[in-house]
């Protein structure tokens, strides 16, 4: 079965996000004053083959922890969809 995982990676809440800060300022200057906070992370779409959704979920957790994120400063969440071709 083919799956697509849509993974969002963000900095842990306590970790400084200089990008988010700079973008917040820029939005304010552009008259989006009602914006109170921006956090910027990564978004990844991973396509993979697996026997089952359970197995695919396991694989995605594995790659997130091993490679795609640095658990010291980042956290992640994802959504898995089956790709029907």
């Amino acid at each position: 079965m083919e799956f697509q995982a849509k993974i969002n990676v963000t900095l842990k809440d306590s970790v400084l996000d200089p990008q988010g800060k700079a973008v917040t300022h820029a939005l304010h200057a552009l008259h989006y004053e009602s914006v109170s906070d921006v956090r910027i992370g990564k978004y990844m779409e991973v396509r993979l083959e697996a026997e089952s959704a359970v197995k695919a979920t396991e694989l995605v957790h594995g790659m997130c922890e091993e490679l795609l994120t640095n658990p010291v400063i980042e956290k992640y969440s994802f959504e898995l969809v089956e790709v029907v071709s």
Binding site: L11, S14, V15, L16, D17, P18, K21, A22, H25, N70, P71, V72, I73
Partner: protein, 750 residues
């Protein structure tokens, strides 16, 4: 007291101070010093200031032996950075610092914030940072995690320096198993200043306002200083990672330099390890004053932060400033222009107390002397390790099938190979004053508006220090000086970063104090006092310590940019000479060499180092420098890692030229060739002499009594050819040498 914080009694009964790294004896001493039991906040403050990282409790007695004085020294150790006179009312400010433990946890941010921290140390003094260097140690590249650590550290160093606009002009990288668990990232920053502009970290003048400027405070890196001294970084809490914001630092740097230039700053200090705690205590201590600070006024990034957290936070890109009373508005205006915050959080007092206020009143109240002057000093025991007495005499002979092949192999070992993969990630040219970029022996940056230039270098060789701590320490200084000299510069002064294992081990402490002794002796001989530095201990994991790795950062002066000399060959038919004693080089053998590490790794640590004589080294360096100043020399390169052939190959590759070398009349049998070619005896320099000046050079060099030997000459034909009376010993095309040398690191990393 903040909710959920342990009570005074709990700190004692539950021995909470131990979690902060304080011993029972230290806790008792605190009680004695302040005449009562410390509360939680006070215990935290003591623990960071009394940590190895801040108090230098193990290393202080050793550091005291360094020579720190000289006519050129304007500021020695003790301030945020040292300062050296370069004439015409100008001075150079520099310091090196380690960020080893944070890098092991999060290499990009760890390395980046190391760079950020050392830059702050320089502009704190009022100096304009003009160059960055680094010194790196990682485990071998055949391991995936080592590649990850190396790649991300390099990216982090570049990411910070490139963004802030300070060129990274030099450094070194060594790969060895010993650093796999404990990579080393040492960063050095160099600044220029007019002598009238020097600022210092003094909190003086009762009533003067104390300001926090720059970034907001978050919970980053709480207990980072203790953590820097903790044994195993992997066990450390994850919240201790700090994230750098180089853009913020750029703004902070410009604002601080503008502020210092107004002359209304009483004292200024960056917030490094232990943040507000150490910056405030140190500034008060230097001035013999006290400080009262209301932490509720400190701008914060996160909600609900306690006094404890605010005092111990290691959020980056912040400074503590004491202004003249009534002149605060100057700071407010300048910081506003740069889009930054400047906030008065307290004032200077004369009661010698560090007093911290929060919503509930006094959160901490400690005599500054108790925190700083009374910090423990340990005289740690040491013992000469047994292995030192079991080392065998350095071997001269080695069976080598094919010298050309061996040279290719050596050139492609990552420690010797071209570091272009690294420095191509660093903007080395921003400021348009970089006259010798990375890739030669030392970097050269111009002093704007003058004919002068600074030569800059970092050097260290842990394996050699391991094999002979005293001599290895001296050799590191000598190599740094030699790299400046071959560039045409006169060495001025030293900053040192002392990276060692666990100082509680007797043999590690022996390595530490003995190598420091060697550094001291060499610094005296080269008249290069130590003006700043940093100590990083506990580079140990699972019982394995790193090699004792002192890194020497050295700065030299070129009175005239016309003296700049690089290592690449310039023109065909120019003669090549070796300055130094060839026979001694042969006799020195292969002990401690990269050759052994590459071809017989199990024997790499079995042999004594080649001999080293400081007086001889000094004589050769002096001769080389004078020869350059007299205009004899077209190129110069010292013989170091990999030995003579590697040095020649590097000169050939850079210049795109070849050479014909003829070694006759020497006792060049199989028993000595390997050590002639690959031994790493110090005190040797290869020079390319201008053809039309050869006679004058020879006449002069003979007068100086310097050992020298004509090796051959440069050829247009890009082939490196070495022959003896018996015929050709080695013939290699410079292109193929170049491929081996340039391809090695990219092959692992791309």
């Amino acid at each position: 007291m903040a909710a959920h914080e342990p009570s005074i009694e709990q700190v004692k009964s539950e021995k909470i101070y131990r979690q902060f790294g304080l011993t029972d004896a230290e806790y008792d001493r605190i009680v004695e010093l302040i005449g009562r039991m410390p509360n939680y906040v006070e215990t935290g403050i003591f623990s960071v200031l009394w940590s190895e990282h801040c108090s230098y409790k193990s290393s202080k007695p050793v550091l005291r032996r360094f020579p720190t004085d000289g006519p050129q020294v304007l500021q020695g150790p003790g301030e945020n950075a040292g300062i050296v006179d370069i004439g015409d009312g100008q001075a150079v400010v520099f310091k090196i610092e380690s960020h080893n433990h944070p890098t092991a946890i999060e290499p990009y941010q760890g390395a980046a914030t190391g760079v950020g921290g050392i830059i702050r140390d320089i502009f704190t003094m009022g100096a304009r940072p003009v160059a960055l260097l680094n010194s790196l140690r990682f485990g071998p590249l055949d391991d995936k995690r080592n590649r990850y650590l190396f790649g991300h550290s390099v990216a982090g160093i570049g990411g910070y320096g490139n963004c802030i606009g300070i060129p990274t002009v030099g450094g070194e990288v060594v790969f060895d198993e010993r650093y796999s668990q404990n990579p080393l990232v040492n960063a050095m920053c160099v600044g220029l200043i007019d002598q009238g502009q020097i600022a210092k970290g003094y909190a003086s003048g009762v009533g003067n306002p104390v300001l926090v400027v720059g970034a907001k405070t978050g919970r980053d890196g709480i207990h980072g200083a203790t953590f820097a001294s903790a044994e195993d970084p992997h066990e450390k809490e994850r919240s201790a990672v700090q994230v750098g914001d180089p853009f913020m630092e750029k703004l902070l740097m410009e604002a601080c330099l503008e502020l210092i230039a107004t002359g209304k700053v009483v004292g200024i200090q960056d917030m490094g390890a232990a943040g507000l705690t150490s910056s405030s205590a140190e500034m008060a201590s230097r001035a013999g004053s006290g400080l009262t600070m209301d932490v509720t006024k400190v701008p914060r990034r996160e909600e609900g932060m306690t006094a404890y957290e605010i005092m111990l936070s290691e959020s980056q890109e912040r400074m503590l400033v004491v202004m003249q009373q009534g002149e605060e508005h100057i700071a407010f205006d300048i910081f506003e222009k740069w889009g930054l915050e400047a906030t008065v959080i307290g004032n200077v007092t004369d009661d010698g107390m560090l007093r911290v206020l929060d919503d509930d009143g006094i959160a901490a109240e400690i005599p500054v002397t108790a925190l700083v002057d009374e910090a423990p000093v340990l005289s740690r025991p040491s013992l000469r390790p047994g292995y030192l007495d079991e080392l065998l005499p350095s071997p001269r002979a080695w069976q080598v099938e094919d010298y050309g092949q061996a040279l290719h192999t050596l050139l492609s070992t990552p420690t010797i190979a071209s570091k272009a993969w690294v420095y191509h990630q660093y903007d080395a040219l921003v400021r348009t004053e970089t006259f010798v970029p990375p890739g030669s022996d030392a970097a050269v940056v111009g002093v704007p508006g003058t004919k002068k230039a600074l030569a800059l270098v970092t050097d260290g060789n842990g394996r050699q220090v391991y094999l002979n701590p005293e001599q290895g320490g001296a050799m590191a200084v000598a190599e740094a000086a030699r790299n400046l000299v071959v560039t045409g510069a006169k060495p001025l002064a030293v900053t040192d970063c002392l990276n060692y294992g666990n100082p509680e081990k007797l043999d590690v402490f022996y390595q530490f104090e003995t190598s420091a002794q060697g550094i001291s002796e060499a610094c005296r001989v080269f008249e290069t006092p130590v003006i700043s530095g940093n100590v990083s201990l506990y580079n140990e994991s699972r019982g394995v310590d790193i090699y004792p790795t002192p890194v020497i950062g050295m700065v030299g002066l070129l009175e005239d940019v016309a003296h700049i000399t690089t290592s690449k060959w310039k023109a065909a038919e120019n003669p090549l000479y070796l300055l130094g004693d060839l026979q001694k080089g042969i006799d020195g053998g292969l002990g401690g060499s990269e050759f052994l590490r590459a071809f017989a790794i199990d024997q790499a640590l079995l042999y004594q180092l080649p001999e080293f004589d400081l007086a001889e080294e000094k004589q050769i360096q002096d001769a080389c420098l004078l020869a350059i100043h007299k205009g004899f020399i077209a190129a110069a390169h010292d013989v170091s890692d990999g030995g003579l052939l590697v040095a020649l190959a590097e000169m050939a590759i850079d210049g795109g030229l070849g050479a014909n070398l003829t070694l006759t009349k020497w006792d060049l049998n199989e028993a000595s060739l390997a050590s002639l070619f690959f031994g790493e005896a110090p005190s040797r320099i290869v020079v390319e002499v201008h053809r039309d000046k050869e006679e004058a050079f020879l006449k002069w060099i003979r007068q100086t009594g310097t050992s020298h030997l004509r090796l051959g000459e440069v050829t247009r034909d890009a082939v490196l050819r070495v022959s003896s009376d018996d015929g050709v010993l080695l013939e290699a095309s410079v292109d193929s040498l170049k491929n081996a040398w340039q391809g090695a690191i990219p092959a692992w990393m791309n």
